[in-house]
């Protein structure tokens, strides 16, 4: 546990990727395989479900620290992280346990699940007493499933690749599914990750997808595109769909559908199951799952809002009504495997050409070919992009015609850009604030925003909350807002403060829909602060009519 805690401290103490890479290499070079197996799992984002209810942890910590409940709560509010709070309050061991991560996870932690609160309490105290402060914090993060450190999966992949003397893409391929809830890391599974290349590697992959290639946001003004990107003819240009990114894998008569989070979602989309018959073996498609209702509207207007898809994601069982209300298709835009062969190292245009042949040659009902756009220059494409909102898409995707299919957000094999449309925006008033977590602990950084319920000049008009947002401000701005919130507090309810309305922000969001759950009758998607409107008095903030107009 101590070795893993030391790694955590090293990773946490630096923002440099090279320093992190070095720390990872050092750890993996000396860790026993069974410990390394779990370390990869946690660092790459694997999370066992919460092992002990938070309430039990709190009670145990409060009792061991000899504090009243309210003081524990105040401490937690200041720290903003339960594991860290507890590690600061309870007595700890000076040295800490040298037993390995695997022993801790498998013998001490996973076995806590399902025990009664009394049994858990009996077990926790002796466990905690063996750990020093950093190890205890880490152990608690593993128990609560909140372990996170500033390391990307890609960086873990690179560290292992360097250590094993393999290509990072190979490691990434082997890591697919490693953090799936059904996989339990073992010494053997770690050894498979870093083993030398074998001849039958490709045929052993079962239903595994490829690591997804991800796009970078493009934010430059259109006038600079020629300089930045060259002519549009060098690019494959498509709509940016607002759905669920997915890979459809068809091998040996079987079909698998994987989401971007490398989660197996085959069961959730029965509409795609016919592909098990219609797709040839040895095919992997990359595309977007969308709710699609052609009806009597023109085909290009058939895509339905993400909200409808979201309703399906949450459901355990998919009833007939839901399936007919929200039927899905796959808008396919890439071909990663053809005739059992990995095509990722072929250029974009070649993959596209073969994808078009595939869709033409096979009657693939639920698969549509994501159309290409073209235009003489970027200005023309910018005009086409203006239609995005009415078409229900998020903007354009620009894919280098010569790009290979990379891993994650890499750029060395060619680039994908997402050229999104500007978000909706309104000027809203900050009315409640709550303290943040992690880096924002103790700062009032999470805000509730309101608009007026009637136009300016209306007697007795009021502010109605409609969105919460906590991103978009610089640290400097956040400190200033925090100070103003503290000075203008009207009431405090637990961690939340209501304030005298004085602050106006331009809020941006991606989508807007009617909602019965919100007081304002409106729900917005991905709200965030675009800028602080220091120039606007509260009276000039927008009203509900502005939001309703955006709904149309």
């Amino acid at each position: 546990m101590k070795a893993f805690a030391t790694l955590y401290l090293r990773l946490d103490a630096t923002t440099s990727s090279n320093a992190k890479l070095e720390a990872l290499r050092d750890y993996f070079a000396s860790a026993p395989a069974e410990d390394a197996a779990w370390a990869v799992y946690f660092l790459a984002g694997g999370r066992p479900r919460q092992l002990v209810p938070t309430r039990v942890l709190r009670e145990q910590a409060t009792a061991q620290a000899g504090l009243p409940d309210w003081l524990f709560e105040e401490s937690y509010q200041a720290v903003g992280d339960l594991a860290e709070t507890i590690s600061l309050l309870v007595p700890v061991h000076a040295d800490g346990s040298n037993e390995g991560l695997a022993t801790w996870v498998e013998q001490y932690l996973l076995t806590l699940r399902g025990l009664s609160p009394e049994q858990v309490q009996q077990r926790l105290q002796p466990l905690w007493a063996q750990l020093d402060r950093p190890s205890l914090m880490l152990c608690l993060k593993l128990i609560t499933g909140s372990f996170r450190v500033g390391v990307s999966k890609l960086l873990v992949t690179r560290a292992l690749a360097q250590l094993a003397g393999l290509d990072a893409k190979r490691i990434a391929q082997r890591m697919v599914g490693y953090t799936d809830i059904s996989h339990r890391p073992t010494a053997a599974s770690y050894q498979r990750l870093v083993a030398a290349e074998s001849a039958d590697e490709h045929s052993q992959r079962g239903g595994q997808p490829y690591p997804f290639f991800l796009a970078h946001p493009l934010q430059a003004p259109t006038e600079q595109f020629d300089t930045l990107l060259g002519p549009p003819s060098a690019w494959q240009i498509e709509w940016k769909w607002d759905g669920i990114r997915a890979q459809v894998v068809k091998r040996e008569g079987q079909l698998w559908v994987w989401s971007r989070g490398e989660e197996l979602v085959t069961e959730r989309f029965p509409e795609l199951h016919s592909l098990a018959q219609t797709l040839p073996d040895g095919v992997v498609l990359d595309g977007e799952i969308l709710v699609w209702k052609p009806g009597d509207t023109p085909a290009e207007l058939a895509v339905q809002p993400f909200a409808l898809l979201q309703q399906r994601i949450g459901r355990k069982t998919l009833g007939k009504k839901l399936l007919s209300d929200a039927p899905v298709v796959l808008q396919a835009y890439d071909l990663l495997e053809w005739q059992g062969e990995d095509w990722r190292n072929r250029p974009q245009h070649e993959r596209r050409w073969q994808l078009e042949r595939l869709v033409e040659d096979h009657p693939l009902a639920p698969v549509l070919l994501s159309p290409l756009l073209d235009g003489p220059d970027w200005a023309d494409l910018a005009r086409q992009r203006e239609q995005s909102r009415s078409l229900g898409v998020e903007g354009l995707m620009l894919k280098q015609r010569e790009a290979l299919y990379g891993v994650g957000r890499t750029k060395d094999m060619g680039t994908w850009w997402k050229w999104k449309i500007d978000p909706f925006s309104v000027d809203a008033v900050l009315i409640y604030a709550q303290r943040g977590h992690g880096r924002r602990a103790s700062l009032y950084s999470d805000y509730t925003f309101a608009v007026w319920d009637a136009p300016a000049g209306t007697q007795g008009r009021a502010l109605v909350p409609f969105a919460k947002a906590y991103s978009g401000l610089s640290d400097e701005e956040m400190r200033k807002v925090d100070a103003i919130i503290r000075k203008t507090t009207v009431e405090t309810f637990g961690p939340v403060r209501s304030v005298t309305p004085t602050l106006v922000f331009e809020l941006g969001f991606e989508g807007i829909a009617l909602s019965k759950r919100h007081k304002s009758g409106i729900a917005v998607r991905f709200p965030r602060m675009l800028r602080w409107r220091l120039d606007k008095p509260v009276e000039e903030a927008d009203d509900l009519a502005t939001l309703q107009a955006l709904l149309a």
Partner: protein
């Protein structure tokens, strides 16, 4: 009668007709210590502990009307017996003891209970009513030992120096900087300081505090290889400024009690955080309050509500005093002009 009350101008002693650390200009001000939120300009008459005279003059001007009083010596003003006692916070910091008609009050300003070698250590002063700060008034705040922290700072410096990188340590220019200098191992390399730090070093040295040799960072030419071995002390306001460019590649760190929390450390955006505070931690606050034997405790700046509630649950009569004191480790507090 209350010997100290909170007024819009500051903490006021009605029978003595003077203020303690007023935040608006008044006729007579007793100053507990020289940090900007406690010692402000514009007062008619200043009284401070003798070791703090140099600091106060260097910050508020040579021309202020300043009277000094050695620790422990008494003076009587309008029937109030006043004396100053070490607070262990920074050079010259004092608790103000007031006695009037058999009642004793102590206003402690800012204090730290652990001796640090750069100022006279805190002395508990028995009283009926104790006015305490509460900057770190939560049980999560328990300081590691100074030895451990200085070992950490020296090890960080040594590792950077071996990699040919400057070590820039941000800290408050008055008090914290000198305390760090006192704990550094000067055999590791040269020690450079920012222009805001050097004048205060001079005051400390004049007061007989031993500090290792320092150089003004501005005197070292850019690209001088010496920079790559150096430890640089600078106020937080220097971070991100063009002044930093001269150091080329460097590692940075921040020294403050707030660095105990991971969130605060990450928010600061520096490579390392060293938990070094000039304030009492939670056990320190409770120990100091207990040592005074006071039955009544007035709590100022920090976690006021928490400490008031906790002390009341412990059977003391604790109340809040609203003040405008800040926290010198917080960058929101403006840096003093020097």
């Amino acid at each position: 009668m209350d010997l100290v009350i909170a007024r819009p101008e500051g903490l006021y002693c009605p029978p003595g007709d003077f203020y303690i650390d007023p935040w608006r200009p008044v006729d007579r001000a007793v100053i507990t210590h020289g940090h900007g939120d406690h010692a402000r300009t514009g007062n008619g008459h200043y009284l401070t502990a003798s070791p703090g005279a140099g600091i106060l003059r260097s910050r508020l001007g040579q021309g202020i009307n300043l009277q000094t009083l050695p620790y422990g010596e008494r003076l009587i003003h309008h029937g109030v017996t006043l004396s100053l006692h070490p607070a262990g916070h920074v050079l010259g910091s004092a608790q103000v003891r007031l006695e009037h008609q058999g009642q004793v009050w102590v206003a402690s300003g800012d204090y730290k209970v652990e001796p640090d070698g750069t100022c006279t250590p805190f002395e508990p002063v028995p009283c009926h009513t104790f006015i305490t700060e509460s900057t770190f008034g939560l049980p999560i705040y328990r300081w590691p030992s100074q030895g451990e922290i200085f070992a950490g700072i020296n090890a960080w410096w040594r590792a950077n120096s071996e990699q040919g990188k400057a070590s820039v340590l941000f800290c408050y220019a008055f008090g914290k900087a000198q305390r760090i200098l006192h704990g550094l191992d000067p055999s590791i390399g040269p020690i450079l300081v920012h222009g805001a730090v050097e004048p205060l070093n001079r005051v400390y040295r004049d007061a007989g505090i031993h500090l290792p040799q320092t150089h003004y960072a501005g005197d070292i030419p850019r690209n001088d290889p010496l920079l790559r071995q150096a430890l640089v002390l600078a106020p937080p306001s220097a971070g991100g400024s063009s002044w930093m460019r001269r150091f080329g590649e460097y590692s940075d760190a921040f020294a403050s009690g707030w660095m105990l929390l991971r969130g605060a450390r990450r928010r600061r955006g520096v490579d390392r955080g060293f938990v070094l505070s000039d304030h009492a931690d939670w056990p320190g606050l409770l120990w100091a309050i207990g040592q005074t034997g006071a039955e009544r405790v007035m709590v100022t700046h920090g976690s006021v509500n928490v400490l008031v509630r906790y002390l009341n649950e412990q059977g003391l009569d604790a109340r809040a005093f609203a003040t405008e004191y800040g926290d010198e480790d917080d960058v929101a507090t403006t840096e003093p002009a020097l």
